[in-house]
């Protein structure tokens, strides 16, 4: 035991030492800290030091705490006791009556003041209703402000206070005896000192007055001097030495623009840049929509190795970054990446900056960048021209296209059309309005109606533009519903002119307009559904084209485009093909479907079936030959299975290349020219499909093989050279796809699953208290019970003390009243004894007289 205690003592000493050595000022108390009187402190002696036990009661200040308790009681219980059995009460009705000390903030005081004022005003309202001069006197420390103003001294009074003190000379003389030359008696010395002091004060006051007068004078003269001063400084400025480099820099820094101008005039190239950025943003959004959710996760994509610890936080290893361009089709359909293009542009820019470091260099760089963006756009333009190159086989198409834009500005200058046109109320009014004008003028009219009814101008216009959109759709329907061979071209021209306006309209209120168009499509579908075997009327196809032009048809799911897709598929797979019109319409729908999928590369089975059917119809069928497999609505045999077949003749061979004509969409009889034209178009469409639509897809071979079987049977003898050429091209594309080799499907490598991380299991702290083991609930309950017990004890103690306090008070009162009574009794006794004394004296005197 002894050994143990020794050791523990040593430990304690060591620990004390180590604590001391770490910071010598640790034990030092702050200068301003309250010092505790050591006699006030009571220390509870601790027998054993127990590790881990926090003892709160090791030391206390019984005196202080008792005093505190007493004070608290006098304030609470004492007050209550004082007013006990008393009926009168003082009620505090002021604002914030419960607040005290710091809680009484400025705002509370203000509110108090205000309410007080209000009550005063309310009281005196009647009497002083007409008293205009009732300016209240404002006070500060009991003095009115006016009075304070009067005595205000301009001169600051801090100086004289300083000099109030005794100066060193005086103190040395007075306190320490001085030089003892003149031995004077104390009386004179003090008198001298007082007079000296007074004189000094007077002098100082005089000096001050003088200084004040002088400053006043100076202030008065200063204004007169000002003029002179200005000229003098100007001269001095001229004489200033030339600024050195430091000054220059300083000035530059001062005058450097701190913020950019908010609405600067935008340069055209910047405008182009902005536009390009906008387009790129939109394009990115479109690409995102094009993909189905989770579609990126395609099979057979070689994913670089991923560790189980990879957090997928987008951190790339430096080496990897170069190869990390995500593959994507650009607008043209070429495999490429935005990233790589951008990077190229960046590199260009970087090169330039290296070349010239001047300020102008920056501008150039900007230009260069914008150039690169323009390049990007021109890229697109090139692509357009490329697609035009493809068209070059049929150069006729371009000529009329070129004409139309020229005609437009002329029309817009046309003064015969009023500049403001009201929105017609009914469709009849609308048609009446349009019927007055030519096609180009009609477009202008529509444009002006849109301009005059922009929703930004007036809220009512929101309805107007929707109505206009509906009217235009109806107008198109009326145009195409019974179009004839003669006017079909003009109708198409008009639609072509209206198209940009339809686009504008749709952008004014996409939701409403789209719902209108969707309703029209629904209605058309309802009509078509009644007779699935017959092609719908021409205006339906025009609506398809409008959908294609107005909407982002490449979306994976689009509220307008998707139903249109389904509609087209339905037509292509069900409607019978019997006339020239049917074939032309089918090809029209096929090309629209290709347009829909131009960038999304989505395929519609109906397209392939229809193209197969067209080729099939061009194959002359002889008796006895085995039938080719072909899917309805095309027929395997019979007259309708060889609608497009022709026999060799000179005329057919000499036919020039031709696109499909507008008239094909409305006529029924099939001519030789049409047969060649349709087959030629079908061949070109096949090539288009195979190369641009499905060319990149895995497994496209199974789409191509059915075509090849048909191609073998198609004899090209009676056809002209261009058909031969297109046939060869299409066949080449098909064969390429059919012989395509593919990697067997395999699911993408999944990220390996990380091992489960387990929480470390901690032991419950051992506290060496042997309590019976209880369930958690019971333990909680026991704890609570214990707490209650303790609280009860505390409460009882408090109550006991309270009663003691009250008893004390009572006792004090009792004692006081007793004391009072004693004194009274004493006085009475005193008076009585005095009276008795007097009486005795009188009696004695009487006795003396007797003697």
């Amino acid at each position: 035991m002894g050994f143990k205690t020794k050791k523990s003592n040593a430990d304690a000493v060591y620990s004390k030492k180590s604590v001391k050595s770490s910071n010598p000022f640790d034990s030092a108390t702050a200068q301003n800290a309250k010092r505790v009187n050591p006699f006030d402190v009571h220390v509870n002696k601790e027998k054993f030091k127990i590790l881990g036990r926090i003892c709160k009661h090791d030391r206390g200040m019984p005196g202080v705490s008792r005093a505190k308790a007493l004070q608290k009681r006098t304030q609470t219980l004492g007050k209550q006791y004082a007013v006990k059995d008393k009926s009168n009460k003082f009620v505090d009705h002021r604002i914030g009556k419960h607040l005290s000390g710091d809680q009484l903030t400025e705002s509370v005081m203000n509110a108090r003041f205000l309410s007080e004022k209000l009550s005063q005003i309310r009281a005196s309202n009647k009497a002083e209703k007409f008293n205009l001069n009732d300016d209240e006197l404002l006070t500060h420390r009991g003095q009115t402000l006016e009075e304070i103003e009067q005595y205000r001294d301009e001169r600051s009074d801090d100086e004289d206070e300083e000099n109030d003190r005794l100066d060193a000379e005086f103190t040395s003389a007075a306190h320490f005896g001085g030089d003892g030359d003149k031995p004077q008696d104390r009386q004179t010395a003090i008198e001298e000192m007082i007079s000296e002091q007074k004189r000094r004060k007077n002098e100082i006051a005089k000096d001050k007055d003088e200084v004040y007068d002088l400053t006043e004078k100076l202030d008065a003269n200063y204004k007169q001097l000002l003029g002179l001063v200005n000229t003098a400084t100007e001269d001095e400025q001229r004489e200033k030495p030339p600024p050195d480099a430091y000054d220059k820099l300083l000035k530059e820094m001062i005058f450097e623009p701190r913020g950019s101008v908010t609405d600067k005039l935008i340069k055209p190239e910047e405008l182009a840049k902005q536009e390009a950025a906008r387009l790129e943003k939109l394009e990115n959004e479109r690409l995102r929509r094009m993909k189905a959710d989770g579609e990126e996760q395609e099979t057979n994509v070689q994913v670089p190795h991923r560790s189980a610890d990879d957090l997928d936080d987008g951190y790339f290893v430096a080496g990897e970054e170069d190869d990390d361009d995500t593959l994507a089709y650009d607008l043209e359909g070429n495999l490429g990446t935005h990233l790589s293009q951008k990077k190229q542009a960046d590199e260009n820019g970087a090169d330039d900056t290296e070349d010239d470091d001047d300020d102008e260099g920056e501008e150039e760089e900007e230009e260069e960048e914008s150039d690169s963006e323009v390049d990007n756009m021109s890229d697109l333009k090139v692509s357009e021209s490329e697609s035009e190159d493809e068209q070059a086989a049929a150069p006729q198409a371009n000529k009329p296209k070129a004409k139309t834009p020229k005609a437009q500005p002329v029309a817009s200058m046309d003064t015969s059309i009023p500049f403001t046109i009201k929105m017609p109320k009914t469709y009849e009014d609308f048609t009446q309005l349009l019927s007055k004008y030519t096609a180009t003028q009609q477009a202008t009219v529509v444009e002006r109606i849109i301009k005059c009814n922009d929703p930004k101008l007036d809220g009512v216009n929101r309805e107007h533009v929707v109505k206009l959109f509906a009217f235009l759709l109806q107008y198109i329907k009326d145009m195409f519903e019974d179009a004839s061979e003669q006017d079909i071209v003009s109708h198409f021209q008009l639609v072509s002119l209206l198209m940009p306006h339809l686009y504008d309209l749709s952008h004014l209120n996409p939701e409403r307009m789209s719902n209108t168009l969707l309703d029209v499509l629904k209605e058309k579908y309802g009509d078509y559904r009644k007779n699935q075997k017959v092609y719908p009327s021409l205006e339906t196809l025009i609506y398809f084209k409008i959908v294609s032009n107005l909407y982002s048809t490449s979306d994976f799911h689009h509220p307008v485009a998707t139903p249109t897709y389904i509609f087209m598929q339905h037509i292509l797979s069900r409607a019978r093909v019997r006339t020239r019109q049917d074939i032309a319409m089918g090809l029209f729908i096929v090309s629209i479907a290709l347009e829909f999928g131009a960038s999304s590369k989505r395929l519609l089975p109906g397209v392939f079936n229809f193209l197969q059917g067209v080729v099939h119809m061009a194959i002359p069928k002889k008796q006895g030959q085995d039938q080719l497999e072909i899917v309805p609505p095309f027929e395997r045999d019979g007259p309708f299975s060889k609608l497009l077949a022709i026999s060799a003749s000179k005329t057919s061979k000499a036919l020039p290349t031709q696109q499909m004509q507008a008239a094909d969409l409305v006529t029924h009889t099939i001519t030789e020219e049409f047969k060649v034209r349709a087959l030629d178009t079908a061949l070109r469409l096949i090539k288009h499909c195979m190369e641009q639509l499905v060319g990149e897809h895995v497994g496209a071979g199974c789409l191509a093989t059915p075509f090849l079987a048909l191609f073998e049977r198609l004899s090209l003898e009676p056809y002209a050279e261009h058909v031969h050429q297109h046939y060869a091209e299409a066949k080449e594309a098909l064969e390429r796809l059919a012989t395509q080799k593919m990697k067997p499907l395999a699911p993408p490598d999944r990220k390996p699953k990380a091992l489960r991380l387990l929480e470390p299991r901690f032991e419950v702290v051992y506290d060496d208290k042997r309590r019976p083991k209880m369930s958690k609930q019971k333990e909680e309950r026991a704890k609570l019970l214990h707490k209650i017990k303790r609280e009860k004890k505390g409460a009882i103690r408090e109550i006991r003390r309270d009663t003691a306090f009250v008893q004390d008070l009572k006792l004090k009162q009792q004692l006081e009243s007793d004391k009072e009574r004693h004194e009274k009794v004493k006085r009475i006794y005193q008076e009585a004894s005095m009276q008795q004394g007097e009486l005795n004296e009188l009696a004695r005197a009487k006795k003396r007289k007797k003697f």
């Binding site: 139309t404 686009y503 347009e595």
Partner: protein, 525 residues
């Protein structure tokens, strides 16, 4: 009915009838007068019956109703059948004799006259029954059946039994009807739900079987149509309906049914497609569950499976399926046939839903060889590339189900790392007729990847299982089979979406600003 005043019995009945079926007024009056008279005036009756013969008589329906009421009354009064038993005894032999006798007694006995008129009426009714006017045929059948009931009740020599002669004549008329199926057949179906009619018909039918199905396909079809109405199903048996109170013995009826089927199958060689199809329909729907020895059908079904395409083969397939289920026959060729029933044209057949359904059942077995099922999966995914939208979804789900059932087929979508590194041409032979030899098991489902690029999002999503994980549960194809193309459109339109994404490039004319296809191929402006 009470027999207190027989004469006035008919009139109110006729009145209510008149309201229902527009009996002309004069006819009604005539009939009323006739019925109210105590004596039967055969001349009046004759006049009414004669109306049948008039070509242009407009109120045939009313007439028939009137006749019904009149003869019902007369039958109740016992004034139709002559007292002489011999005359009316049914039987083929005595018929001629009876007729001769009848003529003799015509003048003397008014009942005999009535009887003649009654017979005449019957022949007219049967003629209507087999006629081309639907309403007439229905009413005629109804009247005939009503008359049979009354006759059975009130004529002594029937003793409450069925007058089989009449029913037989009705069936005969139906068989020889001018149209096929006979117009009165739907009406007859109602009566065929009565068990007594059912049993009697089966009893009578063997005698009425047309001599040759090949020469008279019309009659054969009608005959089969009648058999088709005679349903021995559970619901009918449970209903316990009787046309007249009678007894019904299921075992007897089943025996009779077997006799009928024997009669049919004997005449079945070399019949034309339509009849063959009808035979199969009848077989599957009515006969097969009650046959004593269905295993004998195997050859018949296999022949029809191999000789025919399309619906007949499908029906045969269904028959074979039920045989497989109940009789445990095995016939491996079935799968080859089934495989060849999947071709692009199938989407345009009416029975495609049934085909899908059957194929689903046939391929349920997990004990099928993998290369066979792989061929099915491959072919179906090929077809999905050419099919209408709704079928594409079904096919994709179907393939998905196949992959779930046959875990070995996972290699079609999950090639081993080594295999997936090498590029190959598709080893699947599209033109091979035998599914086992197509080499599909070495192929891979590239079609599904292609289908992910389908324009309709439902299809594309359905095909996504290839790149994602397979679903845990099989899809229920039942709901999908009901779907039509237009439903997909409607569903699509119903999806409320406010995101109408617009194109961001303003078209300057008819063509798109870029990538325009229409103007490349069409010279419109």
């Amino acid at each position: 009915m009470k027999h207190t005043n027989k004469a006035k019995q008919g009139a109110p009945a006729l009145d209510t009838l008149a309201k229902r079926s527009n009996v002309p007024v004069e006819l009604q009056q005539k009939a009323n007068a006739f019925l109210n008279a105590t004596q039967v005036d055969t001349k009046v009756l004759g006049g009414i019956v004669k109306l049948f013969a008039e070509e242009g008589y407009a109120h045939q329906v009313g007439l028939m109703h009137t006749i019904e009421v009149i003869f019902k009354n007369l039958l109740k009064r016992q004034s139709v059948y002559p007292a002489d038993e011999e005359l009316t005894k049914p039987g083929k032999k005595s018929k001629a004799k009876a007729k001769a006798k009848l003529k003799k007694t015509l003048d003397t006995d008014p009942n005999a006259k009535c009887f003649a008129l009654y017979n005449k009426t019957w022949s007219w009714l049967l003629q209507r029954l087999a006629g081309t006017n639907k309403e007439d045929a229905n009413v005629a059948l109804k009247v005939a059946m009503q008359l049979i009931v009354t006759e059975a009740k009130h004529i002594k020599h029937n003793n409450g039994n069925w007058p089989k002669k009449h029913l037989s004549s009705i069936l005969g008329a139906l068989i020889e009807s001018e149209t096929s199926p006979a117009l009165a057949l739907p009406a007859f179906e109602k009566y065929a739900r009565c068990l007594d009619v059912l049993q009697l018909s089966y009893e009578l039918l063997p005698q009425l079987t047309p001599a040759s199905f090949v020469e008279t396909p019309q009659q054969a079809l009608n005959y089969l149509g009648i058999v088709n109405t005679l349903d021995l199903g559970k619901t009918v048996l449970a209903e316990q309906q009787y046309h007249m109170a009678g007894s019904f013995d299921l075992a007897d009826t089943q025996k009779l049914l077997n006799i009928v089927w024997q009669g049919i199958i004997d005449r079945c060689s070399g019949v034309d497609e339509q009849v063959h199809r009808q035979v199969l329909v009848v077989l599957l729907e009515r006969i097969l569950p009650h046959l004593e020895n269905p295993i004998l059908l195997t050859d018949f079904l296999m022949d029809s499976l191999h000789q025919f395409d399309g619906p007949i083969a499908l029906l045969a397939l269904q028959g074979i399926f039920s045989l497989m289920q109940k009789q445990n026959i095995t016939y491996p060729d079935v799968y080859k046939k089934l495989y060849n029933m999947f071709y692009p044209r199938m989407f345009y057949n009416k029975y495609k839903a049934r085909l899908f359904y059957l194929a689903d059942i046939f391929l349920t077995s997990t004990h099928l060889p993998e290369n066979l099922v792989a061929a099915f999966a491959k072919r179906m995914s090929r077809l999905a590339l050419r099919s209408p939208t709704e079928d594409a979804i079904i096919l994709i789900r179907f393939v998905c189900n196949l992959l779930l059932r046959h875990t070995g087929l996972k290699r079609l979508i999950c090639a081993t790392a080594a295999a997936s590194a090498v590029e190959i041409a598709d080893p699947f032979d599209d033109t091979e007729l035998d599914p086992v030899k197509t080499g599909a098991i070495n192929s891979s489902l590239w079609e599904m990847v292609l289908l992910q690029k389908h324009a309709v999002p439902e299809v594309a999503n359905a095909a996504r299982f290839v790149s994602k994980s397979l679903p845990l549960m099989e899809f229920d194809l039942g709901q999908l089979l009901e779907m039509k193309e237009s439903d997909i459109f409607d569903d699509e339109v119903k999806k409320v979406s406010k995101q109408f994404m617009l194109a961001y490039e303003r078209p300057k004319n008819f063509a798109l600003p870029k990538n325009d296809v229409v103007t490349q191929y069409f010279d419109l402006i």
